[in-house]
């Protein structure tokens, strides 16, 4: 009896623990369901290829929208009517490299792939097909839009595997808002009487004074975003404060074209010391270094944060939420953020507004070896790049989402602006077609002079301003936010973070190690007691000195010069 029971117990234990083990290991496995077999098999070439319905899959390596079919949207349906092609969109969930790695390991890809930062891995795996012949055959518009930019995208073997996401077409239309900035709550400016703020010291003083006056409100002076790869929002400011645009890890001199890293420079030290001082006064949110992106966005919308630095697109979710709230209740406008051109010194012109740069070569969209019918896909892209369809994906349908005045200028009525919210963007297809496709660049214009980007069209921008927006702009004597900032200089290489580099190259290794070091030391430096700051800074310099920074700078300088040469060859 006893023996049997013992056996039964053993069996029970074994079975249970086994099931626990398998359950745990099962949850670790990536669920790769981007099977390529979804493309319709019945597509026969030759006989009326345009009319046959076909569905292709796209995997987008950037998280964002929810998955779905393009033909479920108004724009997507119209494009399907033109081409017969529908795309099933899948967006990244979780870690990009894991997802791409799984695709590479299984050698099974979606028909079209936007690998984002993992582009080199995908190219090395031979996952993309060369596009040259297809473009020659089916791509007159692709050639028109991209022109010589395509040569910059070519791989070492001289073939073209990826299309850049966008290219500048027509005249350059400036952005009415800066690409990045030091942001400050509007009520801070209002209370201080709308002063001119140019330097970091002035900016911090303003925040400090406001916080001291409103002690009972439990305000935070500044937060910074540090989560995972978004850490650059904390490590980039020294570059901006020195008056350079976002060139990633380097500041590039406009005249000599020399690229210099700044992670361990005096500028970085000054920036971290400023944060350290803020922290000592209890005005810096320590949780910045442990919060994730969602928590960061939640803090920006909590009304408690007075200032922060970020790229506009990265904080856009918070801005939109705040703007929507202020539209419904104008008293909430005080919590909106206002961009400021902050540098270390008033004599340093800022570079927060993007000028005309070069094509970004380390991002793009390609057709994979799993694609059944690449010709249909390239035809779809080519059709999409027709001017009428570029108007469709960005402005929508005339009379429905935009109007044209007697001078032929596009604009939107108040009702149209109010109608187009997140839900409408999704349903109509503006969201799906915002940037996931080969298209005109954001600063482009059409042949009739209208801006490609709706928000870039001065008429629309003016219309979209609320009374409160208008008031604050008037206070500073400007019509657009950009006018507060310096005019962008010509930087034909911009952005330097967009230079393609090999995955296992010394440059990539330098970046990984630099990231690791800054992620470890910057928080320590900011949170340290002020007398310990220098000791930790010296430790950091010692560790940083082990990296081959000179090699990285040399490589980047070479790339910059190549880009400048290519640009000169273009004109």
């Amino acid at each position: 009896m006893l023996r049997k029971r013992k056996l039964a117990l053993l069996g029970l234990a074994a079975v249970l623990s086994f099931s626990v083990v398998t359950a745990c290991s099962g949850s670790k496995k990536e669920n790769n369901n981007a099977a390529p077999g979804t493309s319709s098999p019945g597509v026969s070439e030759g006989t009326e290829p345009k009319k046959d319905k076909a569905t292709f899959t796209i995997f987008n390596g950037v998280a964002g929208s929810k998955d779905g079919n393009t033909n479920e949207t108004t724009i997507g349906k119209m494009l399907e009517d033109q081409t017969g092609v529908n795309f099933k969109l899948e967006f990244l969930v979780g870690d990009l490299n894991t997802k791409i790695g799984t695709m590479i390991a299984s050698n099974e890809y979606p028909d079209v792939l936007i690998p984002d930062a993992a582009i080199e891995e995908v190219l090395n795996a031979g996952a993309f097909i060369p596009l040259d012949d297809l473009i020659d055959k089916y791509g007159p518009n692709i050639k028109r839009v991209y022109g010589k930019d395509l040569d910059q995208m070519r791989a070492k073997d001289g073939k073209l595997y990826v299309l850049p996401m966008s290219a500048q077409v027509g005249n350059f239309v400036p952005d009415p808002e800066p690409a990045a900035a030091f942001y400050i709550q509007r009520r801070v400016l209002e209370e201080a009487g709308y002063p001119k703020v140019r330097t970091l010291d002035q900016y911090l003083k303003l925040i400090e004074d406001f916080a001291n006056k409103h002690k009972d409100e439990n305000l935070t002076g500044m937060v910074t975003l540090t989560h995972d790869w978004r850490f650059f929002a904390t490590s980039n400011p020294p570059m901006h404060l020195m008056g350079y645009p976002n060139d990633g890890n380097v500041m590039v001199d406009v005249n000599t074209l020399e690229a210099k890293t700044y992670s361990a420079s005096d500028a970085a030290k000054k920036w971290l010391q400023a944060l350290n001082g803020l922290n000592a006064k209890g005005l810096f949110d320590k949780a910045s270094f442990v919060d994730n992106y969602d928590q960061y966005i939640a803090k920006l919308t909590s009304h408690k944060v007075l200032g922060f630095f970020d790229q506009r697109w990265q904080a856009a979710n918070a801005f939109n939420a705040l703007k929507d709230a202020a539209r419904k209740d104008p008293s909430q406008d005080a919590y909106n953020y206002f961009p400021l051109p902050i540098t270390f010194d008033e004599n340093i012109p800022d570079a927060y507004v993007d000028g005309l740069g070069s094509v970004i070569t380390n991002r793009g969209i390609g057709i994979t070896v799993s694609a059944k019918d690449p010709a249909r896909i390239i035809q779809y892209f080519d059709n999409l790049l027709k001017e009428e369809n570029q108007i469709l994906i960005s402005w929508g349908i005339k009379g429905e989402t935009y109007e044209v005045n007697e001078q032929g200028r596009f604009y939107r009525t108040k009702e149209q602006i109010d109608k187009i919210d997140e839900a409408f963007n999704q349903k109509f297809g503006f969201k799906y077609y915002s940037w996931n496709w080969p298209s005109y660049g954001a600063n482009s214009s059409f042949s009739d002079g209208n801006a490609k980007g709706v928000g870039y069209q001065p008429e629309v921008f003016q219309m979209s301003l609320t009374e409160a927006d208008q008031k604050i702009l008037d206070q500073y004597g400007i019509q657009t936010y950009t006018q507060l900032f310096a005019k962008p200089l010509e930087r034909p290489w911009y952005p330097a973070w967009g230079f393609a580099k090999d995955a296992k190259s010394p440059e990539a290794m330098w970046e990984t190690k630099k990231d690791e070091l800054t992620k470890k030391y910057y928080p320590k430096l900011v949170l340290a007691a002020s007398d310990k700051f220098d000791t930790i800074w010296n430790d950091f310099l010692k560790e940083f000195g082990k990296l081959d920074t000179a090699g990285y700078e040399k490589w980047t300088t070479e790339q910059v010069k190549k880009k400048v040469e290519a640009a000169q060859g273009n004109s």
């Binding site: 234990a13 623990s17 949780a287 442990v290 296992k504 290794m509 990984t512 470890k520």
Partner: protein
């Protein structure tokens, strides 16, 4: 004894006692139904557990996914040299072992204690409530759990508020728990216990139900107190389960988990939070250096294998029940 007698008398060669290989085949023929039933599982095991070992060859190549097997460059032990030559790997190994040991010890002790306590509760409604509450966290995804933990431990989180209220911490000097590297193991251990304690008790509670109630009655009549009954009846009753689970878990000592460290880790506590899995993700998969990932995986498997056999051997020596 009984079984031996049957074997001896009912074999096909009745007058000669079968031995060695012959005995094996006779047994096999007699148990053919069982053998046939196990075949699908053997096939499963072979396909999913043995065939992938072929992939280990990648560890010795400069692997490029686009190339065919015979086009790969063989580089011998380069990746292993890189691994063991890297000071980070030593740190990562330390973290892995420390965290899984913490997990193992805490997990065992707390689960057994809770199971013992639950077993003593006579009020069924209360027992069920406690059980349900204690294993609910197990079903929360680590992503959500990590958010809960982060919020709890944040400077304006409930823990800091409590410390301020108790006067241990001054307002404005809140502790950034996840920013202090040395705290990480503790946070990890406590959150793992919170998440899995209830779930881990299930096996022990099931084991306790098999203990003959008459033993308790007899002990009670002989005047054994509750603690004594736990000590002399319940614990010995579930000992085989404990030992087997311990042996199996020791085999997983290099698996300290991935999600909690990945989600709770940050730049500040990286020296204590980074374990082998995260190292592999960062320097292997993220750099598309698959060979390095495989080399690290191989290392893990070999060490686990050794640990498993060692634990089993010790159990055998100690005269305890064991796996094999």
């Amino acid at each position: 004894m009984e079984t031996k007698a049957i074997l001896a008398t009912s074999g096909p060669a009745a007058n000669k006692k079968p031995k060695g290989i012959r005995l094996f085949f006779i047994k096999l023929a007699r148990q053919r139904a069982l053998v046939v039933m196990s075949v699908p599982f053997l096939i499963w095991l072979f396909i999913f557990k043995y065939v992938p070992i072929w992939g280990w060859t990648i560890a010795f190549q400069d692997y490029k996914p686009a190339l065919k097997f015979w086009d790969q460059t063989w580089i011998g032990f380069e990746h292993f040299k890189f691994l063991f030559g890297d000071e980070r790997f030593v740190r990562v190994l330390r973290n892995t072992l420390a965290m899984s040991s913490i997990n193992l010890v805490l997990g065992f002790v707390t689960a057994i204690v809770l199971a013992l306590l639950l077993n003593e509760i006579r009020q069924v409604a209360f027992k069920r409530t406690v059980q349900t509450i204690s294993y609910l966290p197990h079903f929360i995804s680590w992503v959500v759990a990590a958010s809960i933990i982060q919020t709890t431990l944040s400077p304006d989180g409930i823990l800091n508020q409590m410390l301020i209220w108790l006067g241990i911490v001054d307002k404005g000097n809140e502790i950034l728990f996840l920013g202090i590297p040395e705290y990480f193991w503790g946070i990890f251990g406590a959150s793992s216990v919170w998440k899995d304690i209830g779930w881990n008790t299930i096996v022990y509670l099931a084991a306790m139900t098999t203990i003959d109630p008459s033993q308790y009655e007899a002990a009670e009549i002989d005047g054994a107190s509750r603690l004594k009954r736990m000590r002399y009846i319940t614990l010995p009753g579930i000992k085989p389960v404990i030992v087997v689970l311990l042996i199996m878990n020791i085999g997983y000592l290099l698996e300290s988990g991935f999600e909690p460290q990945y989600l709770l880790g940050n730049g500040m506590n990286v020296d204590y939070s980074e374990n082998i899995d995260i190292f592999v993700l960062k320097y292997g998969i993220a750099q598309s250096n698959f060979s390095l990932s495989i080399a690290a995986g191989m290392f893990k498997t070999v060490v686990s294998f050794v640990l498993l056999f060692a634990a089993n051997h010790i159990a055998k020596r100690a005269g305890e029940s064991r796996l094999f």
